[in-house]
Amino acid sequence: MGNHCSVCSATNQTCVPLYSSNTSEIPLGREALHWVDPHVQHPLQLLLFVLGIKSVGDRSVHCNETTTLSKALLEADAVHCPVRGEKKAYCKMLLHAAKYPHCAVNGLLVAEKVKEKKKDSHSAPILCVDCVPLFHGTLALAPMLEVALTLIDTWCKENRYVIAGYYQANERTKDFRPNQVAEKVAARISENFSEAAIVMVDNSRLTMSCFEPIVLIYDHHENKWKSRDVNTDCFEDWLEAQKITSALLEGRSYENLIDFDNHLDDLRNDWTNPVINKSVLDLC
């Protein structure tokens, strides 16, 4: 390849440009991941860069073997989160779980519909702007789920949203694995939206203060759902989200949260939750 390394001034085949920010320090190994160019969407794309097919920036990282670095990249599956959460979505998800502590709860995550992807498919991260709480209690029955998906799909089309994910909080505190219901619903959502994610709430870490994100995000890779590292980068503005969620939990706003089950009990209940949305805005 013969890339000229600006650090060592030597032509080194394993020395490839990796990131574009002008920094004086060049981190190595896993720290390099935090300096990755934001255009790089997926660990595999980064691997392509590392293998020197395309140069990204003018800084480079030394690695003795390309294989070591690429292995590190493949291990760190959260180079960057394709699906990120906004405060309203995170907030309502947790409020739903808090409203029915003795039940399993689930719901859908919606994102704004982006226009057609650019030719080189470097799309911006998908932001889940809202969530619709669906059911509590028995989640494994089909008819109402189909009704909900149809109605919410119609609502999404009217508001230029798209159903982008599914969240679930299981009944038992220590249970956070996605089950058959989660996988089935997510598979259904993936038919319309290829990068659908499953978000599982870790009940054991649910507290009033919400210092850290307590969700696990699962992506579909090779016919299996694999979890990804979640950190505060997966959220549009974590500090705001944390502050608002904490305030709403303490104020017991979850008593006013309406899920689809509540709507089916009384049609006047609005599952778009305008009241909670307003509370979130007021706290911003």
Binding site: P101, A140, A142, P143, V147, D175, L264, L267
Partner: protein, 262 residues
């Protein structure tokens, strides 16, 4: 923090009546029960008379739900003082141990009750709940089946079993449990509707036919049951030609329902 009586401008009699209503309806609004009950006990305990014991029990269970072990222990101690040898109070002790996740001790408690009184249904059901809490659903289902062989009329147990089966995706057996419930409660639209949902989820032409029939039955029993109406709507137009109910008719029903509700 303002007290309940101040916030809602109610007297102690209304609070007591509200607690009674929640008891009779078997509501699980534990936070509200704790708020109202705690105040009622601490400020108006002397006026309640004999009602106070059942209120202690209700508040204790709600306190366990809200992780208020202090309140739960207070209620439990009062009950123990008043009813020292009661199995009902022993069961509450066991429930407190369950809430603290001390399942082995809780099991010992319940075993002790059952040794004394083998027909004590409450203790047996708590043991099954422990299995459920530990995630041992197969064993919980087995134990519950054994329990139901002895106590065939226990509707709460049949419903719990149907839920366990649904969570295991064994819809056939869940349907069987709901059939038992429908037999003993032919006028209950909720059982009809849930049975229809299970049949729908099972899938297959026969099951969808049955599902449509039971959604219709639920609607006949209660014409405001939205789930039944939606279920009927989803199935309208499917099935054999003779049985196709008009999609339009269902849509009209849906619209009229939406208008009356809004």
């Amino acid at each position: 923090m303002a007290s309940v009586s101040e916030l809602y401008d109610v007297g102690w009699e209304e609070m007591r009546d509200k607690l009674r209503k929640w008891r009779e309806d078997n509501c699980r609004n534990s936070e509200q029960i704790v708020d109202v009950g705690e105040e009622l006990i601490s400020e108006h305990g002397s006026k309640l008379g004999d009602d106070i014991w059942i209120i202690y029990e209700q508040v204790m269970i709600a306190a366990l739900d809200c992780s208020r072990d202090d309140l739960a222990l207070t209620c439990l101690q009062e009950l123990r003082k008043q009813f020292p040898d009661s199995h009902r109070v022993k069961r509450l002790s066991g429930m407190r141990l369950e809430a603290l996740e001390r399942y082995d001790e809780a099991n010992k408690h319940y075993d002790a009750i059952l040794q004394d009184d083998p027909t004590n249904t409450a203790a047996r059901k708590r043991k099954i709940s422990i299995l459920k809490a530990q995630g041992k659903s197969a064993e919980a289902i087995r134990e519950l089946n054994e329990y139901l062989e002895q106590f065939v009329g226990d509707q709460e147990a049949w419903h719990e079993l149907s839920e366990l089966y649904i969570n295991e995706h064994d819809y056939g057996k869940a349907a069987f449990c709901l059939e038992e419930l429908m037999m003993t409660n032919p006028h209950n639209h909720l059982y009809c509707e849930q049975y229809a949902e299970v049949k729908y989820t099972q899938g297959g032409l026969e099951n969808l036919e049955l599902s449509r029939k039971y959604f219709a039955q639920a609607l006949r029993l209660n014409n405001r049951n939205m789930r039944a109406l939606f279920g009927l709507y989803m199935l309208a137009g499917r099935g054999t030609k003779e049985n196709k109910c008009s999609v339009k008719a269902v849509e009209e029903m849906l619209e009229s329902m939406q208008i009356t509700m809004s």
